[in-house]
Each structure stands twice: as structure tokens, then as C-alpha cells.
Symmetry: C2
Subunit: 341 residues, 2 copies
């Protein structure tokens, strides 16, 4: 089958990989309908993380081709959405709502790779969720978004306790931050402040429910959030970047007792000053999003056309042109690239 391989940082090829097959009785093999390129794929692309003939991709929707003997919740022919972390669904951590830290967790990225025609998904019952039927073509981008970027933004908004009566600030205007805006709106937030200095992303943020835009960054951005909130700071802040600067911006934008949901992947070497965290007296929760927890709800919202997160994809290419997709995101010509099969 064809699959995207990162031979080395910045070197994308669409080559041949062996077709996947059922190995464990809990496996499913799916034929991909669509996949995409994640902001986190740019880390190895830019050499910040290693890449050595790495199978790429961790977001996916497709049709089940075959299942192992023990799979009970999906069957051949089902249209499914999967999480970017393999999870068993049965361990104590999964049952407590953290499938992203399942005791059997495997990151799809780098291990399975779903920028490909097919994929073997272990622990299919705990990882995949079937849509109510075969989706109309226009729903596919939104269902694909649920696989990571929407699920991650949703987790961030949930972790930040966005909800009725709350003012939510969003640090980061990438795809995840924008999905955080959409999630905050759905969760009933009263006021949603998107922090962005890019006109196109500001427009998308407004489409998703942002009521205010703040263009300042860093301490100036935090000061602006305080101005907008009677000097107190936002109740809920979504951190969707992952640098020390963005983290401090989030902390300084949050009122005492408020909540920060952080989903920007922090890399080695990023540190946080604990005295500032201590005296800020905020709640912090985040990490790799437990997307599987939210998938049934997100799929239904999309199916019922109550949300339309698929508009976050601003470039669609066939899988064979993956290299151009990576380059477009690297050069910031695209926010999020969908790859079709």
C-alpha cells in the first residue's frame, strides 16, 4: 500500500509499505477515507524531533475491512473515527476517562502511521467509534477533525472548565486553539477571547464563536485579558502552543482559582517557574487529549450538523502530494491540511 514516510527531517516520500493484516484478535484493519497533517508532525519535519524512515500520521477516518475474533463494537463496512492513541477501553485508567494514558497505550504517530491507504488498529473496541452510518462527503472533514484536533481542543476547553457564565481566553490560534474556541462555545461559555494576530484565523475564530479578539501577546496580551475581565483575568484559559512564553501568558491571563487546560505539546527543555505557578493559584490540567472519551459525543454533534469543525482544513490534497502539504504547513500557507485517498 502507499504510505507517507519521513525519511529524515524535512524529507517526505509517499512510498510502499506492506499491507496491514490482523495480528491480535482485538485488531481491526481499516481502509482510510481521509487523513491529515498535524502541527505536531512539523516537529520532526523541522528536526526538533528525530525522523528516520518514520511512518507518519495519527489522525484518521475510514471503513473497517476486517476485524479480529474478539472485536465486538465495530464490524466490516462500518465508517469509523479513531483516536490518536491506541487504548484498550477496559483498564482502570481508560475507565476513569484517560484512554490517552491507557496502560496499553500506543501512540499512533511513529508506530502505526495513518497517512496511508490502510492501517491496523489494535484494541479496536477501545480505540475506534463507528459513525451512525456512511457519512455524506461534506461530513468527512469534520469527522476527521474529531480524531485529534477537535478532540484535543474539546479536552482543553473541558479541562479549563469552560461553561455557562464563564469567560474563556484561548492562547494559540492554530487548529487546536481554534477548535478550543468551538468547544468553549458548545460548552456554553459566555465570552470567548481568541488571542490571534492573523486576520484569517481571527475570522475563523469568530465563525467558531469568539466574541473578542486580542492581538497582543505575552504580558501585554495578559494585561489586555485582565482589562476585559474587571482586572481579574479569565475564568478559563486554553493553552494550545506549548512554549514557556505561551504558558506564562496563559497563567497570567487566568484569575485566581481559575482553570487552565493545556494541550500545546511541551518539548524537552521547556520549564515553568514554580513560584509563579504557586502564587497564581490556578488549576492546571492537560496533556495528550483523551480523545476517545469524547468521540461518541463529537461524532453525534457532527452527524446532527450542530458543529462544523471541518472548516479548519484550509488545504486538501491527495495523499500522493503529502510533501506539498507538509511544506504548506511548514511555511504557514496552510493551517491544517487534509489528505484524501
Amino acid at each position: 500500500m502507499r504510505a507517507v514516510i519521513m525519511d529524515a527531517p524535512g524529507q517526505i516520500t509517499v512510498g510502499e509499505r506492506q499491507d496491514p493484516r490482523i495480528i491480535e484478535p482485538t485488531d481491526a484493519v481499516i481502509r482510510l477515507t481521509a487523513t491529515c497533517i498535524c502541527g505536531s508532525d512539523l516537529w520532526p519535519y523541522r528536526g526538533v524531533e528525530p525522523a528516520n524512515h518514520t511512518p507518519m500520521g495519527h489522525e484518521y477516518v475510514g471503513v473497517v475491512e476486517e476485524v479480529g475474533a474478539e472485536v465486538t463494537t465495530v464490524k466490516p463496512g462500518d465508517f469509523v473515527v479513531g483516536s490518536f492513541v491506541i487504548s484498550c477501553g477496559r483498564c482502570e485508567i481508560c475507565r476513569s476517562g484517560y484512554p490517552s494514558r491507557c496502560v496499553h497505550a500506543v501512540f499512533v504517530a511513529g508506530n502505526i502511521g495513518t497517512q496511508s491507504e490502510k492501517a491496523r488498529i489494535p484494541h479496536a473496541d477501545g480505540t475506534l467509534v463507528a459513525a451512525p452510518g456512511q457519512p455524506d462527503a461534506d461530513l468527512v472533514p469534520s469527522l476527521l477533525a474529531a480524531s485529534d484536533v477537535l478532540g484535543t481542543g474539546w479536552f482543553a476547553a473541558d479541562a479549563a472548565e469552560a461553561g455557562p457564565g464563564k469567560t474563556v481566553a484561548v492562547v494559540g490560534d492554530g487548529a487546536v486553539g481554534l477548535m478550543g474556541v468551538l468547544a468553549a462555545k458548545q460548552l456554553g461559555a459566555e465570552r470567548i477571547i481568541a488571542m490571534s494576530r492573523h486576520a484569517d484565523r481571527q475570522a475563523l475564530a469568530r465563525e467558531y464563536g469568539a466574541t473578542d479578539i486580542v492581538t497582543e501577546r505575552g504580558d501585554e496580551g495578559a494585561a489586555r485579558i485582565k482589562e476585559l475581565t474587571d482586572g481579574l483575568g479569565a475564568h478559563s484559559v486554553i493553552e494550545a502552543v506549548g512554549t514557556e512564553e505561551s504558558f506564562l501568558q496563559a497563567i497570567r491571563s487566568t484569575r485566581p482559582g481559575g482553570h487552565i487546560g493545556f494541550v500545546g505539546v511541551a518539548h524537552e527543555g521547556v520549564t515553568l517557574p514554580m513560584d509563579e505557578v504557586f502564587f497564581a493559584q490556578v488549576h492546571l490540567h492537560g496533556g495528550p487529549a483523551p480523545v476517545r472519551r469524547y468521540l461518541p459525543e463529537l461524532i453525534q454533534l457532527i452527524w446532527d450538523r450542530k458543529i462544523n469543525p471541518g472548516t479548519v482544513f484550509d488545504l486538501t490534497l491527495p495523499l500522493d502530494q503529502a510533501a506539498e502539504g507538509y511544506l504548506a504547513m511548514h511555511e504557514r500557507r496552510a493551517t491544517k491540511v487534509m489528505l484524501t485517498l
Copy 2:
């Protein structure tokens, strides 16, 4: 009046200060019954923080002598317990449960100083809570503990979401950590693991409700917690030290999705690696404890003799011997020193 002054790091004198008087109509003047020395008083004592003729002390119980015209909830003759942070009780932050970050907050330490015969307490209604009557002498140490060390341990246990069915681990066997054990027990925790290598503190931890003692520290300590919790880590972890090592020990002892309540004061220069915080996927909440939120409940528990936190004081001295009290805590001959008047 007599009062404890830290002339310079390590130099304690009991000297004369002007008697306090009502300045604002929201003030109260109290005559101290007892006060104490906090672990955090050792920071300036050891020169980690500055000290220059600093009025010391921030924990206090006493009898109201006089109140300003606008004070309505306490009156002369009332026996009161106060928080170590002055709070108005009326601002949005106070009403949301975070009086320690009141918009009018003033730290008693360094500004008011309650290692003294009397003290002026601003925002008396928002800071002080009257006991149901004049306490028996044996209740005074416990009521004094509520002023900070119990209230702080209680906040840590609450922030860590200690409760029925939960396994709670406590990092730090100082007075606050021990109070965290007591609080976890009261909140209904099923299993409480105290991390301590000192026999006397282990005994006190058991008295307060610890079911297990772990003597290992750092990564060995975290590994031991995992062994005791099916490899998953504790649901709730109290961090009551404030160093990078103790923080990492707490994070590594917590299961994914679990909660850390941190109350060990982190000093400038203490940093936390964000990649580890990210992938740990725990909840973090802490800071200077909003003691005033808990005071009514804690005073009642003490009054009804349901808890006896006063046993955390293992040395009692008259105020005039404060210097010996500081030295005993500095040399770890005492866990917590009460000063009587």
C-alpha cells in the same frame, strides 16, 4: 507591646512595638492568646529570604479587644481564629473561594506580624472567624493550628480531591504534610500513604490516619507508591515541600487523571520540566491556602473534638523565648513551636 522581630537573618529579638489601634472602620484589634512559628519563617531565618527588622508571625488566635464601626461579625470579647492572609470577604475572588488571593489581600507575615501581644487585623469580617465561645485551654493549640498549618493541609487534601475510595500519598512530613494526612482521613480517603523517614513523624502520621508509610524518596519513593497502587499511582497526592525534587516525586507518584494539591512554597529559581508535566496528565492545584474558606468548618470540628490537630505542636514556649523556638525548628529538634502569651 512585646513582639518578635527578626533584625536580620537568624537574629531574633523580642522587643517593643507600638500598640496597634483601629485605623480603618473595618479593623479589629485582638489580644493574642497564642501564636506559633511556621516552617516558612525559617526561610528568612536561614537567609533564603530577606529579613530587616521584620515583624514576624502570621498564625494567631486571640480575643477581640476593639472593632471598627463597620465590623459586624466579631465583637469585643469574642475568641477568634484568623487566616494568614487578610481578605475582604466581599470581592469576586473571595466569594469564589479564594480569599488568599482577595483583591485586597495582604500577607500577615512581614506586614502585620502576630508573634506579638496584640495585632491590628484589617478587614476583620473577611479574615477572622469567632469560635462558638471561650475555648477550654486544651483546644487552643488546635484552634491555632487551624490558622495556617491545618487550613493549609486541608486545602492541599481538598485540591488533591482526597475522598472516599481514594488512595492519597503525602510528600513531606513537616507539620503541613501531617495535617494533610489528618485532612485526607477526615475527607474519607480509603488509604493514606505518608512519605517519611523520621520515626516520630511516622508515629504522628499514623495517629492522624496514615495507613501506610513509605520511607523511600524521589524516584524510589514514587516507584514504591506505584507498587502499592497496582502500578498506577495514587489518585491524590499532597505536595508539602516546595522543591523541584519533591514536586517531581509528587508527579511521578500520581496516576494519569489524578490530582496533586501543592502547598509547599516554591521559591524563585525552582522550575518544573513541562514535558514531564504534560505527559503525566495530572491535575495540579495549589498555592497559598484559602484558609478563611475552611475556618468555620475546621473550628467546629475542633470544638466538637472530632479532630485534634494541636498535637502537631511538639514544643511550647513563652513568647519571650521565641529565639529558642526558631533555633529548635531550624535544628529540626521541633516540628512546630507554639508561643504562648
